[in-house]
Symmetry: C2
Subunit: 208 residues, 2 copies
């Protein structure tokens, strides 16, 4: 990975550029920052700054090489050396994440799933184990990232187990806020919270 | 709904407080801001400010009435008068969202799903129609919110159809940025972007 410092906002846009560049790579060799910015309704100065931070500058008239941009974004995101993750909770949302093929493109490989009432041996080719095997699996496979898709009432307990067995980052989809010790990262993906913001805006309520 | 202005950050925490309060309402009548803040590792001044914005102040020693807090948060989030939504794209993620019972608690009711290759008549009791019925359904049922769970390559076209037929807000799960006209709200729920941020932090890369 690059050692350049970039903003969270730039980082959040990189997977979107990457997805788009992959979709056009067979049709064209070069693309301008203006074409990318028009595609997504972004400011072209912003797109140039984003791409400049992880790749070179575009050439006058021809712009950027699509292949080079793809390679530079992939290198930056660590796609060549994916982080191994476990997923805990193979309900509908867990199954959706297991079945989504796109995470490998962004540096994540879900290697196994765990569920207290495992109903299938595999989902999308990933093994599903009973929850009592979680701790030993994390230890033995040196897993650093855990995805939590259990109900809110079980999420903290699952998180504590993961942290006790070597997990350094949790991606939490349960509608709660997880407590983690210093040195462990928690990203709370709270769909209900996003929804509350959206409905509030839709209904014309004031937001500061 | 209340006409008070609150911050997006406060709004994002309200569904989390609501979920927690519902989980304890049968066990206790009152709760203090300190107890809530300890539960989620938040600052208790922040919790007091959040609750003060949509409810009254807690009483000395007894704190807040759990039932009153639930009622005030539900009123604020518009739970009594849910927004009707359609979902487009009944793949794994679409199915997960359809099967998630919790959205009603936050003011959203998914009334129907649409898919270009609809395989089931219903998912979790919600009707699934073929995509060519989307426009007329939105018109006839005065739908204002659309949830997009189709592949990125189809998302803008679906969005344009929704907007042309009365949708005022889109909740987009496709890994792309949607262009919407003025007056229409788009909330992009980009899981790949969240993941990129998480992996970057995990690998100790600098983020500004």
């Amino acid at each position: 990975m690059s050692e350049k410092n970039i903003s969270v906002q730039t980082l959040r846009r990189l997977p979107i550029y990457l997805h788009y560049l992959n979709s056009i790579k067979n049709d064209r060799d070069n693309i301008s920052a203006t074409a990318i910015s028009n595609r997504f309704g972004l400011n072209d100065v912003q797109v140039r700054k984003d791409l400049g931070a992880i790749s070179g500058n575009g050439k006058p008239k021809t712009g950027y090489s699509v292949q080079e941009l793809i390679r530079d974004i992939e290198n930056f995101l660590g796609c060549g050396n994916p982080t191994k993750a476990v997923l805990v909770g193979a309900g509908n949302l867990g199954k959706a994440l297991l079945s989504y093929g796109g995470f490998n493109d962004y540096g994540l490989e879900i290697v196994a799933a765990f569920d207290s009432a495992a109903q299938a041996d595999t989902i999308n080719g990933k093994p599903v184990f009973s929850a009592d095997k979680l701790a030993s699996f994390c230890n033995e496979n040196k897993i650093t990232l855990g995805i939590i898709t259990v109900p809110a009432s079980q999420a903290q307990s699952v998180c504590d187990t993961l942290v006790a067995h070597g997990i350094k980052a949790v991606w939490n989809f349960a509608p709660t806020i997880l407590r983690v010790p210093d040195g462990v990262i928690a990203e709370n993906e709270n769909l209900a919270s996003s929804l509350a913001v959206l409905c509030q805006r839709l209904n014309g309520e004031g937001l500061e």
